[in-house]
Amino acid sequence: MAAINYAVDQSVAIISWNMTSAPMNVLNDESIPEFEAALKRAYADSEVKGIIVTSDKNEFVAGADLKMILRNNDKDPAEMLKVSAELNRIFRAMETSGKPAVAAINGTALGGGFEICLACHYRIALDTPKTQIGLPEVTIGLLPGGGGTQRLPRMLGMEMALPLLVEGKRLNPKEALQAGLVNDLAASREELLEKAKAWIAANPSPLQPWDERDRKTGQIVGKDNFKVPGGAVQSPMGVRVFSGGTAMLMDKTRGNYPAPLAIMSCVYEGLQVNIDRALTIEGRYFVKVATSNVAKNLIQTMFLGMNEANKGAGRPKNIPPTEVKKVGILGAGMMGSGIAYVSALAGLQVVLKDVSAAAAEKGKDYSRNLLKKGVERGKVDPLKVDGILNLIHATDRAEDLRGCDLIIEAVFESRDLKAQVTKGAEPMLAENGVFASNTSTLPITGLAQASANPENFIGLHFFSPVDKMQLVEIIMGRQTSDYALALCMDYVKKIRKTPIVVNDSRGFYTSRVFGTYTAEGMELLKDGVNPVLIENAGKDAGMPVGPLAVTDEVALDLVYKISGQAVHDGVLQETDTSYRIGKTFVDLGRLGKKAKAGFYEYPEDGKKYLWLGLSDLFPVSEQQPAIEEVKKRLLYRQAIETVRCFEEGVIRTKLDADLGSVLGWGFPPYTGGTLSFVEFVGTDNFVRECDRLADTYGERFRPTDRLRQLADHGENFHEMKRA
């Protein structure tokens, strides 16, 4: 067999996963039948007294093959239900075969992998800190469709199980033991198998509490009146869990993610019937979410796409691997300090330079504080702290930068200042070293004029706070070489961030499109839409923060400055709404959150609230639009701007557009990202709606000609040819 090894040892069948066709053990069309065949062999062999399920690889089983699920996404639901029912039939047969089955969890067991374990009668995990155990399906828009929504609450009770199912939390073996996901731990592989065998010997004929033996046939069947530990669905506890729990869920998802709600329903409906009927209910909900657009988007962008990007999908293939060992950072402010921290964390030598040693040292304190917090939370090994900090050399001497493979400047956004530090630091670079600017707005080609080697000059746009934000936007200047790009991608991979690659232009990609979100918020305000409705529409559409609140965070003087520059450059008219509102608010001294006054008021002793003076500046119309219309304006505006970026060549791939939008400024993941959103809506519909929006609100919504062609030909963005 290619995927599953089978052996009998001391009357115990050891069924060991060992897929050769995939980098990790996954449940798919190849492995599932083999797993079943192995199980059947064990059932049939009267010498076999029990079954151990384990793996020969590092991980146990990582989950279902998402490509298989994606393949079935648009298939007939009945077909998909068959696949899911098949898996449940196999698991249920293992549970009811009469022979004890033990999961010897030697490594990570997630999703369908852990559902195998749940269908066993006993679970022992090898205690290694890297092992992850859990049912994280919900994070990619799915639900545990292999009995997970039924067995976990039957084991732990609904109140304990629901958070694990709905949040998709991954636990290490110790946490899993404490939570009751596994029954025992083992210190070594040998002990793991010994304990498994001992349990089998002691429990020759196990019966799950939700099962019973049929009086007539002796077969194991689901028990009708199983008492769920902790309380039944129809109980005061059930009312609390399902009424309150659903509300909490809706608060979080704003109704945009069907999977967590479907999980609630699986538990609510499934725990009122016996397990056999419950698995049918789970199967229906599984198919419902697995065939949804949301699951497709999440799997495509947030899982497969992210993996692809992290592996360096956009890296020039012809450049051999580079290795950045020493990185220099100019400017020890918030961004520079953050870049120093993530670089040191990845084991790189860091030179953190500022104008004074004290300022540089202060930048290093940023890492000290984060590491301290990490230790307090048990996330950082205290023994490693000094080693990481020793990698950061805080200095005011340019000389110390000598030999850096990469220098990133993170000084104030001023062309002159940037030119000055570029000239000062560039000569210190190692041979073939690359100079990067962490600018969020200034065109790279222009900044590269200060460089002696513009082909080795590039943009590395980090997001704040650097330690939390996953994205790095790599910006290619007109002369930037593939080599510089490859080196930066290798560096980004090393610091475990996700890169996207964009071409030089005003605001690049992320700042430009994000700017349309804040701008549309201001257009809505100008149109007399109730500001509360604007903010709620942003949040309900799935954006992390309402457009006005986020504009306050960006600061209105910056909005004024950026739009003013665009007006100056002739790109925007003076009548531009952002420009005018920016000016008004700068004149009022209401610069945003930092001034404790912007669109919002920020009282010292309470939550922020919308400034009451807004209604004087922007009288609220009698007739208010439906929230759906407001949501549409906010999302479509970002999507159509992304289409323009794509056509103009600012953004090079659909995946970069999608990932950049989700990771960069929080465009809602359920859409799959700004370009997936267009396909999610349907390109036809999108064009039609954009025309309507353009007719109603302005030309900024007008679809491009090529987008129209795309819609006419029913093509997608992968097929769209750029000029």
Partner: protein
């Protein structure tokens, strides 16, 4: 179409709906049976003239389960031919029973029905019957179903009622109830609950607190704020996106009290009255039931009142007295503001805030109170209305007979 008349009304006092309440050791079947017996005994009623007993009960499980109306009929010693049915239209059940009885009588298929309700909230807690409406995750999420307190606070938010507005209304309810109790205005309908050995357990509504003032109410903490922060406010605001938060103004002192109690009204045709030798006290002119938006839930009295007035060919100014159930203070406040009705005509003897709201029975109790007050104050037309869980409203117009 035949006319439907009310011949008499009987209710128990309302006892605090907790384990320290006076009626906590009285079973709901005893409360209801005592009402049926009293109606029979004081009217010397030949119970074989009664076709059916329709009783509202909102939590019909446990000892309130298994058709408590029929159980009470048997236990009260009524003629074997008298049937019994329990219904549940949440808070309006007691009035729904009256309306159904009236409809039966008007249809000519039935001569007499005892209609009312029972709820022992201290023994069978509100919500203990679960229900898909409140528990099924798909339904809760799809229709933004929140507890009534959140809905009441949403009304306060939407229509701009402040904490002081609702406290002022509540204090007035207490003041009126205190006056009414002291003046013995409930005595025609209210019959004391006695125990097995004939000793009176409770002879007055237990929740009335004469010392209640706006000042004392202002000290109470909002009841639904914490619950709201756990996601329920957000669930409601998904539908009411024009508000950034819910203003939590309701608390134990300006919401209806949880109590135990039962009531029954004898409803019948003219012929029934003649046969039984009884004089009608009032006629049922018109009634209406309506669905309304289920998240804000408690605005139903407005469309229900409009509907019933239209049915009766009347206008709001024709009505002399109103009983608007005080589920929460905002409900009657909104009613008065929307219809421009003077507070002097509404809940003149206090309401459920001071007196209590035994869910299944309240609709019958407030209608009986309305009849008593029409007679006492020599007025003609009265209207009872209640807001209802799930987003409904009910209203009935009664005309006093001389």
């Amino acid at each position: 179409m035949a006319e439907a008349f009310i011949y008499d009304a009987v209710r128990t006092p309302r006892g605090r709906g907790k384990s320290d309440g006076s009626l906590h050791d009285v079973q709901p079947i005893q409360l209801l049976t005592s009402v049926l017996r009293e109606l029979r005994d004081r009217n010397e009623l030949d119970t074989s003239l009664v076709d059916d007993v329709i009783m509202g009960c909102v939590t019909p499980i446990g000892e309130q389960g298994a058709d408590i109306a029929r159980t009470a009929v048997i236990e009260a010693g009524y003629a074997e031919s008298v049937a019994g049915v329990q219904l549940n239209r949440f808070c309006s059940s007691g009035l729904e029973a009256i309306n159904m009885a009236a409809a039966y009588v008007m249809s000519g298929q039935v001569d007499a029905i005892i209609a009312g309700g029972v709820e022992s909230m201290s023994r069978v807690p509100m919500g203990s019957d679960g229900g898909a409406l409140f528990m099924n995750p798909q339904i809760v999420a799809r229709h933004n179903i929140v507890p009534q307190g959140i809905s009441a606070d949403l009304i306060a938010t939407k229509y701009g009622y402040s904490r002081n507005d609702v406290d002022t209304f509540a204090a007035e309810s207490y003041r009126r109830a205190t006056d009414a109790q002291q003046a013995n205005r409930f005595s025609r309908t209210l019959v004391p609950v006695k125990d097995e050995i004939g000793i009176t357990i409770l002879d007055r509504d237990e929740g009335v607190r004469p010392s209640t003032t706006v000042e004392s109410l202002s000290k109470l903490k909002p009841s639904f704020e914490m619950m709201g922060q756990m996601g329920l406010d957000a669930l409601a605001l998904l539908k009411y996106a024009e508000y950034d938060k819910i203003n939590h103004v309701h608390h134990a002192g300006n919401s209806s009290q949880i109590v135990d109690g039962a009531a029954g009204l004898l409803v019948g045709s003219r012929e029934f009255g003649e046969k039984a030798g009884l004089k009608p006290r009032a006629s049922i002119k018109a009634f209406a039931i309506v669905g309304s938006e289920p998240t804000i839930m408690l605005t139903g009295p407005l469309p229900a009142t409009e509907k019933v007035l239209k049915k009766a060919g009347m206008s709001i100014s024709d009505i002399d007295l109103f009983e608007v159930n005080e589920a929460f203070a905002v409900v009657p406040l909104l009613f008065m503001d929307k219809f421009g009705v003077d507070h002097g005509k509404v809940n003149v003897n206090g309401g459920a805030i001071a007196l209590g709201h035994p869910l299944g029975a309240t609709g019958a109790i407030i209608s009986a109170t309305l009849l008593d007050e029409l007679e006492r104050s020599d007025k003609q037309l009265g209207l009872s209305t209640l807001c209802i869980g799930g987003g409904m409203g009910i209203a009935t117009i009664f005309e006093r007979m001389n």
